[in-house]
Amino acid sequence: MSEIDPGQGLPDPPEGHGDLSLEGPGPEDLREDGIEAPAPAPDAALGPEPAAPAADAPEPALSQRLEETLSGTGPLALPADASADAELDAWLAGPAPDVDPAELHEIDLRLRERLGGG
């Protein structure tokens, strides 16, 4: 599948929806999942409040170990699905609906609310 220039549209969602870390969104996200926890503890059932990150903690980065696990031939290697990729390429190559970026943003918010249960 070829990479396609996103062109106009929504920018990458503001970090905090899921943050940059592959190891997880913040406590607010967990509460949206119905996991009750006093901030910033992510899950009362999972234990005490975690230690607060150092004030000078580096910007959250992708977990290298998880990234490696999801790439290559590891335990979560993704089987190829050429037909699904071709279907997507054909769909993206079709005429794009004319929707204003601001409207896309509102649709995005509404979709997250409806599907995500937030």
Partner: protein, 207 residues
């Protein structure tokens, strides 16, 4: 997409020690830890499984199969305790559901008891979907089902699991630009389904 991994090596402290212990204990086969993780998977992934599958029974199969992939020591060992365990489950779980969806020999979990490590029975297959209260309306679900499979997966990853574009790209094995293009196109395609929601306070698509 992944070539800068070494340069971005995660130097955050292990701030989620309790969750790291839980993952390690589950990887080691401790039953109560496996059960706790099983419940977390239900809460985090149940709704996404419902949206990826077209019928509830298939969603149940998908969720159980994904958990069979996810709750393995080789996978749990990838959790380092630098972020919430639920976040790890979202990303790795999305990948696990993709693997399950593409598996030609997908097992039918409706007709069997799910077993975890050491043959220990996990929760009933219905537990996950019971936890995933489904409030999506039929018009929106129908619009979602009309999307190409890969586009539906992108929507689920972003709108249901709340993954960033980058996390979605890694979880789905797609270039991040394609994730962005696909999500924007999907939003445009779904606006009618959103507008048809009976409880919609505003008709976005009518503008």
């Amino acid at each position: 997409m992944l070539h800068n991994a070494a340069a971005r090596r995660d130097t955050r402290p292990v701030a989620y020690g309790r969750e790291l212990r839980l993952a390690r204990e589950a990887a080691g086969g401790r039953h109560d830890a496996v059960h706790e993780l099983d419940g977390l998977c239900d809460r985090v992934l149940g709704r996404a499984a419902r949206r990826l599958a077209r019928v509830p029974a298939d969603a149940d199969d998908l969720l159980q199969e994904a958990k069979a992939h996810l709750l393995r020591p080789a996978v749990l060992d990838a959790y380092e305790g630098r972020g919430p365990l639920a976040g790890f489950v979202r990303v790795a779980g999305m990948r696990a559901m993709m693997i399950a969806e593409r598996s030609s020999d997908r097992r039918n979990w409706r007709d069997r008891v799910a077993f975890g490590l050491d043959g220990m029975p996990l929760g009933s297959p219905d537990d996950g979907l019971a936890a995933a209260e489904d409030r999506a309306d039929p018009a929106l679900v129908a619009a979602l089902d009309r999307l190409p499979a890969r586009a539906r997966q992108v929507v689920v990853a972003i709108a249901v699991l709340d993954l960033s574009y980058r996390e979605t790209a890694v979880a789905l094995g797609m270039p991040i630009g394609t994730v962005s293009s696909t999500y924007n196109r999907a939003l445009a395609s779904l606006r009618r389904g959103l507008a048809e929601h009976p409880g919609a306070p505003e008709e976005v698509a009518a503008r």
